[in-house]
Symmetry: C2
Subunit: 211 residues, 2 copies
DNA sequence: AGCTTTCGCTACGAGTCGTAGCGTAACTGT
DNA sequence: ACAGTTACGCTACGACTCGTAGCGAAAGCT
């Protein structure tokens, strides 16, 4: 679980502690409000009402709507895992289907693009998104590659810098394609689509992995 | 140029005509306001002031902020072209670099993701984005493939439905990767990145044969 | 001319924002 | 038990934006 609040990191060992139950209620209420209203019509006052807390409590813990929604949506990605499915192709298909399932939720659809749009003018927000959402996805790419190299499906990397660049590229291709399919083209990333995508990606990887 | 206003399409041949200069001024002012304030802090009142028109004029022509920004940003994509660069690889690299250049503009960065996020809860808006922005990009994929088939770089398609699915897949991969690289990873889609991306995509498309 | 539509301007109620102030609740150390 | 410290719920507030209505004047057509 991500420690969303960074204020008073280790100060205040005294006094009344913050309610952990309130945190969970607020984040759940935020997701419910996203489903009901969407990003643009979501107000912190309504979230507070849904969560059964005072509006001021929200402002004491989060700087604003952006930060709150990032934390609320980040929890959706807790379920992302990469079980060993025996082959690189199966691993890719599995994780892409998981990612697509998360993106299919209405709260993720309306919130993810919105906070990314906001982050283009808010560097701290971009960093928060990176650490609590993006990096967690990116790690799966690294795990998948290491596993494929252990199987002998991909050659080991010699140049570390080049390996990092390639991993970043693959990540942008995979995540970008699923997001674009789901949100821009607005069509489901179902099994058939994932199979086609994986086939093209794998052909591109096994042929180009030398550089 | 996209005809953004769909109301009174052929009625009202009489009376004072709408000022075309005001339209251009409003769209330019919208882009300027996006650069200055970003999506979330942009208000129609400020756009009206920038454009030198009354706020009510904005509401007479556009249903709201979403529609206005879509029209304003759509004009950025007018410059997208696909000159024949001699090979499929060169064509892909060229159009991806063009697309990346557009996405690098601050007004496109902050607006595109925001309107896509809005469109997940607004079907007419999604349709507007599709016709005025997405389809224009998608046509380049079809042109590029037809050209590559004429050169013999890609085999002709037998099954039309399968060909459509493949084109849609390629489009999501290309556009998604560039968008994700630019907005989520927040790193430039420069020539080196585009070359790496194109190499992987081409290997995936042509099968592992040539390279 | 007469008709029609747009334009600029002003004003308005409604809603949201983020904050301040207050009294109370919860927990800690002596 | 008691004082100290912090979080909480509640109310109220000024500032701001929204989208609309109403008015008189301007611009075009027949």
């Amino acid at each position: 679980m991500v420690n969303g609040m960074r204020c008073r990191s280790q100060a205040a060992r005294t006094g009344r502690p913050r309610s952990a139950a309130a945190d969970a209620a607020i984040l759940a209420a935020t997701r419910a409000a996203l489903v009901e209203l969407g990003w643009s019509k979501l107000t912190l006052g309504y979230v507070a009402t849904l969560a059964g807390v005072a509006k001021t409590t929200l402002y004491r813990r989060w700087a604003g709507k952006n930060e709150l929604v990032v934390d609320a949506v980040a929890e959706l990605f807790d379920e992302l895992e990469l079980p060993d499915r025996g082959s690189l192709a199966a691993d890719i298909e599995g994780v892409v289907l998981q990612f697509a399932a998360i993106l299919d939720r209405p709260e993720a659809k309306t919130a993810l693009m919105a906070v990314v749009a906001e982050s283009t003018r808010d560097e701290p927000l971009r960093e928060r998104i990176r650490t609590s959402i993006v990096d967690r996805q990116k790690r799966l790419v690294l795990e998948g590659r290491a596993r494929a190299q252990a199987r002998g499906e991909l050659p080991p990397e010699s140049d570390q810098a080049a390996a990092d660049r390639t991993a970043a590229l693959i990540f942008d291709v995979v995540a970008g394609a699923v997001v674009h399919r789901t949100l821009v083209s607005a069509e489901p990333a179902d099994e058939e689509w994932v199979r086609s995508f994986t086939r093209i990606l794998l052909l591109g990887l096994t042929g180009a992995s030398g550089g």
